[in-house]
């Protein structure tokens, strides 16, 4: 018997959870929306997804290579960012713009700040807002191959027309690749809840606030309020982007405040702002406010001084 027993501090076992597995779960959860987008918008949508994902992974890989940092692309978080960004873009966007957006998300928003876990705002959301400002993306959104409508549902709503509820739920309307089918997004969101990757607090507070506020502001009409929550990427944002760990609070009350805040800003922009879309701005604003929310909602310590 040699004396080479391994010495280490407890615990000596691990749950097996990994960053990679969490990211894989997010990718799996985004697949229904991705597939729906590709069916609705055709091969062009697939091309946008491919460009965004490849650009995201490649730029993280090269960034790490250049600054001689340990390679992190294996954690799959760049794939998630690329995919999320793609789902937020219209299928008819020039591919070079999609690529630029992806590189912006990874390099400017994430890697420069220190990589995964260090970004101050959500990379995909920030890139989307950047593209909106820089390229005017989303102004002329693409439409499904067989869709009859001539404007995105939010534009229609703003103009006083009502798209069909079923079309909205199935995704048969104009908009970004991944935001049009609420059904596909809900399936993915439920998967994340079941896998305990996210909790219900942010999506429920976010969507709930948008529902209640649009009910109040749009003539106390339940149907209208439903239309407001089913459109404009709210589900995509509420389930997949507002729940980003790094840029949202860890406690349940923090999450609820975050969700309500994002909902209010969304409504404010939708009803009173210049952009038909408010979800991205809502999340981005709350990302920026997140450190404050976290400091207002510390976890109660059991037997601690603040209990």
């Amino acid at each position: 018997m040699d004396n080479k027993l391994h010495i280490s501090i407890s615990p000596h076992i691990h749950s097996g959870a990994s960053t990679q597995r969490i990211m894989l779960d997010v990718i799996i959860a985004l697949l229904p929306a991705t597939v729906a987008g590709c069916i609705l918008f055709g091969l062009r949508a697939l091309a946008v997804v491919a460009v965004c994902v490849v650009a995201a992974v490649l730029s993280e890989f090269l960034f790490n290579l250049i600054i001689k940092k340990e390679q992190t692309v294996g954690d799959l978080s760049a794939v998630v960012t690329g995919l999320l960004l793609a789902l937020n873009l219209p299928a008819n966007i020039p591919l070079w713009q999609a690529a630029v957006g992806s590189v912006f998300a990874i390099v400017i928003v994430k890697c420069i700040f220190g990589g995964i876990g260090c970004n101050l705002v959500n990379p995909a959301i920030t890139a989307r807002v950047f593209m909106l400002v820089a390229f005017g993306t989303m102004a002329k959104a693409a439409f499904p191959l067989d869709a009859v409508s001539s404007a995105t549902p939010l534009v229609q709503l703003a103009e006083g027309n009502t798209p069909s509820m079923l079309d909205l739920f199935m995704g048969n309307v104009g908009g970004a690749i991944g935001e049009t089918s609420a059904l596909a997004l809900v399936i993915g969101g439920v998967y994340l809840l079941v896998r305990r990757v996210i909790t219900w607090h942010i999506p429920v507070a976010f969507i709930g606030t948008v529902f209640v506020m649009s009910f109040l502001l749009d003539g106390f009409d339940v149907m209208a309020a439903l239309l407001w929550i089913l459109s404009g990427g709210l589900f995509l944002g509420a389930f997949f982007m507002a729940t980003d760990y790094v840029t949202s609070p860890p406690t349940k009350w923090g999450k609820i405040i975050f969700g309500i805040g994002a909902g209010l800003i969304t409504i404010l922009i939708r009803f009173y702002g210049n952009y038909p879309e408010g979800v991205s701005f809502g999340i981005l604003m709350m990302n920026i406010l997140n450190p404050y929310i976290e400091s207002w909602t510390p976890r109660k310590l059991f037997g601690g001084k603040n209990s």
Binding site: K4, S8, I9, S10, H12, H14, A17, F302, G303
Partner: protein, 436 residues
């Protein structure tokens, strides 16, 4: 109480559950350190060449927070020499060569207990310390010099660590000793209520303890959720009584005394027979062990003798633990002895040893969402990196009991318990400086 504290769903791996303990063959030698408890080392009272029997005093108590030590075999004292403990301290240890007879010291007789003082003194003489792992001298908890107002005696039968089943063995096979101890403690310490806390996944132990509770009005079994760490003192007190023990306070500050069920069984045995604590029932398990078993072992037996009794190894052990995988201590070699507070020895083959490589924190909240006390170890790690001791204090790092739930759950495999230990030390240093 409105809710249960959080925790981690650790694997159970209780493959030895239901196995009654087997007494191992008398070891050839035993090495008994003079520190197997929290407090001052006991003072050796034997020297090389002395002959001893099972139960002979070999080291006497040294001060209030200390405990006497008795020989676990019969034979001849070979040496009294310093050994290096797993805590990193050098302490005297008494090595005894066994004659293989296990002759019992003829002076052993049951203690006469007629009063509180008698009882406390008996527990003191028995050499019993917290047998669940802590090793705090038990008689001190009962009030060494003055009577205490004990509302509840909480008996810890949670056994929440994976693999370990030795507490359950005691609950199932030694219920009479436990009942005898409970009756005496209640009578002489004037205890109002006894609560035995057991995790739900041990129906046999629950059944056995319920038999004790059924015939006694002031004894009750509390079934706890199967969620690590139910056996942690503050968690157990909260889940059995609803009382919160604040930072820096002890159970007695809320009127509770917490004893491990194995400690209680040992007290019962001592009161009945007068045989002090010289042997331990321990679980021997782990992926490297050929025949996992529960065994009764003389204190001081080298781990290699214990493993040998269990069929030796089926794979080369790479990591060997005192205690369970969540809070156990890894040992440097197999010559280290079984101590008073050892409840299990586990040996693992290579693949469970590799410490996973840490990656960047993704702020997932997995750690803080598992912490029974609501501590955020990821925030502590950030504050520690900045050497911000003020923030460390606010974040409650001193509350951390090092249960390991956070490290266990962290997807980035960050060594959070380790950082918490370092952060606690940094805060202590900063506070000491401030006090100057």
């Amino acid at each position: 109480m409105a809710f249960y504290l959080k925790g981690a769903k650790v694997p159970h791996k209780k493959s030895t559950s239901g196995m009654s303990a087997i007494r191992i063959d008398a070891p050839k030698t035993v090495t008994i350190p003079t520190v197997m408890h929290i407090g001052a080392p006991a003072t050796p009272v034997v020297k090389a060449g002395d002959s001893v029997q099972v139960g002979t005093l070999i080291a006497e108590q040294n001060g209030v927070i200390s405990s006497p030590i008795y020989s676990s075999v019969s034979g001849t004292v070979k040496s009294v020499a310093e050994v290096l403990l797993s805590s990193g301290k050098n302490v005297p240890a008494i090595t005894i060569e066994s004659d293989g007879e296990m002759t019992v010291n003829s002076e052993i007789k049951p203690p006469v207990v007629n009063s509180r003082e008698d009882l406390v003194n008996a527990v003191k003489q028995s050499g019993i310390v917290g047998l669940g792992g802590a090793g705090f001298p038990t008689y001190v908890k009962y009030g060494a010099d003055k009577p205490l107002d004990i509302q509840e005696l909480i008996i810890n039968g949670a056994e929440c660590e994976p693999y370990i089943t030795s507490d359950s063995v005691n609950m199932i096979d030694n219920a009479e000793d436990i009942a005898f101890a409970i009756d005496n403690l209640v009578k002489y310490l004037n205890i109002k209520k006894v609560i035995i806390g057991i995790e739900k996944n041990k129906p046999k132990a629950i059944e056995s303890m319920n038999k004790i509770a059924d015939s006694r009005e002031n004894v009750q079994v509390k079934v706890l959720p199967t969620l690590y760490p139910q056996g942690a003192e503050k968690v157990l007190v909260y889940h059995t009584t609803g009382k919160t023990i604040a930072l820096g306070k002890l159970p007695i500050d809320v009127g509770c005394v917490v004893n491990n069920v194995t400690t209680i069984a040992a007290i019962g045995r001592y009161l009945k027979t007068g045989m002090p604590l010289v042997e331990k029932c321990i679980t021997v398990d782990g992926s490297a062990v050929k025949e996992p078993k529960n065994v009764i072992v003389p204190i001081g037996t080298a781990l290699k003798d214990v493993f040998e009794f269990c069929g030796g190894f089926k794979a080369e052990p790479k990591k060997v633990l005192y205690g369970g995988p969540m809070m156990g201590i890894s040992v440097p070699d197999l010559d280290v002895p079984v101590l008073k507070n050892t409840n299990a020895v586990l040996a693992f083959a290579e693949k469970q040893v590799n410490s996973p490589k840490a990656t960047a924190c993704i702020r997932c909240g997995g750690c803080t969402n598992r912490c029974p006390f609501g501590i955020d170890p990821s925030a502590i790690a950030r504050a520690y990196k900045k050497n911000d001791t003020e923030a460390l204090e606010k974040l409650g790092v001193e509350l951390c009991m090092e249960c390991g739930c956070c490290t266990f759950a962290c997807p980035a495999k960050r060594p959070l318990v380790q950082t918490n230990k370092l952060a606690k030390a940094a805060l202590r240093v900063a506070k000491a400086k401030e006090a100057k």
